[in-house]
Subunit: 436 residues, 2 copies
């Protein structure tokens, strides 16, 4: 993409309204713009990151055998009356009355609607297990929306729902999602710590929150350093045979500060870590809470009805955009992990009115595009300083800098955004380095 | 995908509530399920089609130079008061009051919000032209939602908005979208007739509706047969140099029945066609209607303010799913055009408990998957008749049938859904045929 044709409204000053670094950087980098309190438009750069995160979430859900569908944003209040949550949910639920005076709502979550779909379509034990998920916008009418997309009102969530015949099956479905979550966050370059949690309003018996480590996190967590030791390669190598790995990980200590008791903690001090975390995922096993209330049954092998066992599994997709920035930035701006970077390379022409620079840049641009590398080509006539500042701010993994002096001696400069390392290389060597 | 692991709730009987064929077939084929009046859940098969259509729409918008962003579904009423449409819009607008008693609404369209984004971020004539689009769920509170996704309340729309300095630029942006629309519909295997239209509530001077031909269409249109002559290959071959082609096409006669005057019609009878159409796209040039009301200006080359010229360009993405079925089906079910088919091949194992059949099917399944061919593998123990009926109903372009008799003589049966043609072939030859 040529920057001159793109839509990247950079803000030079720090916006007053932003209290945390991710909010500030997302506004400054032209990723989002507030439409109203807690509701954002995703500008092109922000949308690209959101879609990359969404794609990783989707791939790992699919790999785990979950099936994607899409439920609508607007739901009927009737289903929520059936489950008993319509009155319980409180003012965070955005309640709507349509032109025929029917009570509707903007879905804050989908246990009721998915249970309704299940009960009207699945009839036999032979159709189980099933795990159905969607990635859809939700609305929670937070009393005080803040921190940009970290605590917005309209937000993108992946929510999956499992249906099983018995506890053992439900537990297997739960563990499959536990594994999928670790893989998902690891692929984004994040360290995620699963912490046993209360199940709160969703109800149920077993629950884990996934906290990613970030110095600016809201949660205080204590955990066994062994949890961090599991690498992406290891997570992927266990394939579908993940029960042993999951059981091991679930046996390791991790607790939020409120529940941490230094005296009773079983972890040797040398291995006990204390860090800040941001919650980006939450999984629940809640048994028959909804299936009983809403009469979701299948016929068992012996012809008798079985009330299905359920779980639900959420990932805050839009929240992750902010959370990743909280975990990965410096004073100059964002530092995107490769897997979620909006573009892999920023190609900077230092002298947009110099024929030799333009020729060299156009050539590099074409070669990168032909190789399928996502590149943002700064072909504008801004000053060199402004171009460097923008490229640091938006955090692309590589900066490929072409200037008149270098061109004369046949070199370009390649900068790695994360390490800050700069190298003078021939254009070919630079391309080789970028493409790995 | 193995059917045994998929979620495809087929309905055998014709649903009472469905008055038109696409609604009936989408319900029967397990593509959608009504959540409440005019609001649907997209089940996995339906979602796959929706996403394929969305991808084609996106590719052609990108090719035309439009830039994707994403505006939220919930908007503040304030912007609509600025443009004067808050009171005008009537009961089709879903009005919402949030917990702080602020007037909000579920966006039925986005002229106001995009104009707000533009006026706060774009300052100079040098940043124009710009065309910004998004693909987002909209809500229109139809008094009598019907015909399934063809006239639903919550629906997916692509809407683009162009910003130009003057009429000539705006007209060029308009024509670029006109061309993009013809390419979009042609890629989906549809014949689209652009018809001059009134601009209605959006306001403005110039407008075209895109009607795709379907015997069950709601509109009656008369048009010059020459419009049909333009092929996809021709549309693609003109590249960015489309003005001549567009001017020619816009000069050809096309009118809805209300405006058609047989006596005044300039088309020779031999070339005049009369057909039913379904509106799937609508483009508008409306000048400064919104930019003036909302004060969207840029600084011109001479330092003076210029109120920008705008247009908007919609495609009914979810409506297209139904419209394509209206245009392409038979008594047995849907016939998907290749480009939007949810799977390219249905692989049918006629004897799921026969080892030789299973081995042959597993082998074909692996080979198709390795070649990147989207395949739905019916590995269930349903009867052969039921499997054939399902595969016809869901309309995959190819059916690859493996039975015990064929396996003994080294052949499988390949059926083309559209032509009905069946061939006995070696497995290798069948794969070769499918992969083209």
């Amino acid at each position: 993409m040529r920057l001159s044709r793109y839509f990247l409204p950079i803000i030079k000053e720090n916006p007053q309204e932003a209290q945390i670094v991710s909010h500030r950087l997302m506004l400054r980098a032209g990723m989002i713009r507030q439409a109203s309190a807690g509701i954002y438009s995703w500008l092109p750069l922000g949308l690209k990151v959101l879609r990359k995160i969404e794609a990783i979430v989707r791939e790992e859900q699919d790999r785990a055998g979950a099936i994607e569908l899409l439920m609508p944003t607007i739901q009927s209040a009737d289903l929520w009356r059936e489950s008993g949550r319509y009155n319980d949910y409180g003012e965070e639920m955005l309640r709507i009355v349509d032109r025929h005076k029917r009570d509707m709502l903007y879905g804050p979550t989908n246990e009721e609607l998915i249970t309704d779909i299940f009960r009207t379509t699945v009839k036999s034990y032979r159709d189980l297990p099933k795990n159905l998920y969607h990635i859809q916008w939700k609305f929670r009418d937070e009393i005080r929306p803040r921190f940009g997309v970290m605590r917005g009102r309209e937000f993108l969530m992946k929510d999956a729902y499992s249906f099983d015949l018995d506890y053992a099956g439900a537990r297997r479905s739960y563990n499959a999602m536990y594994m999928a979550y670790l893989r998902t966050f690891a692929r984004m370059g994040l360290v995620a710590i699963p912490v046993r949690a209360d199940s709160g309003a969703i109800g149920g018996d077993l629950s884990h929150e996934f906290q990613i480590l970030a110095q600016t996190g809201e949660s205080d967590i204590y955990y066994d350093a062994a949890i961090e030791d599991i690498s992406l390669a290891k997570l992927m190598s266990v394939g579908d045979d993940f029960e042993k790995t999951v059981t091991h990980l679930q046996s390791l200590y991790a607790a939020e500060q409120e529940k941490h008791d230094a005296k009773a903690c079983p972890v040797p001090p040398a291995r006990l870590k204390h860090a800040k975390g941001i919650e980006v995922g939450h999984i629940f096993y809640f048994g028959t809470k909804y299936s009983k209330a809403m009469n979701a049954k299948v016929t068992g092998p012996d012809g008798a009805d079985i009330t299905v066992e359920m779980g639900s599994y959420g990932i805050g997709v839009s929240r992750l955009v902010g959370a990743i920035i909280e975990a990965s930035h410096d004073d100059a701006g964002i530092i995107w992990p490769d897997a979620v970077a909006p573009f892999k390379v920023g190609l900077i022409n230092l002298r947009a009115n110099d024929a030799a620079c333009v020729t060299a840049c156009d050539d590099l641009y074409a070669k990168l595009q032909n190789a399928g590398v996502d590149v943002l080509y700064d072909d504008t006539d801004e000053s060199a300083g402004a171009k460097f500042a923008t490229c640091d701010l938006i955090g692309l993994p590589w900066q490929l800098v072409v200037g008149p002096r270098g061109i004369k001696s046949g070199v370009v400069e390649l900068k790695n955004r994360r390490s800050g390392e700069k190298q003078e290389l021939s254009p070919e060597a630079a391309l080789h380095r970028i493409m790995g």
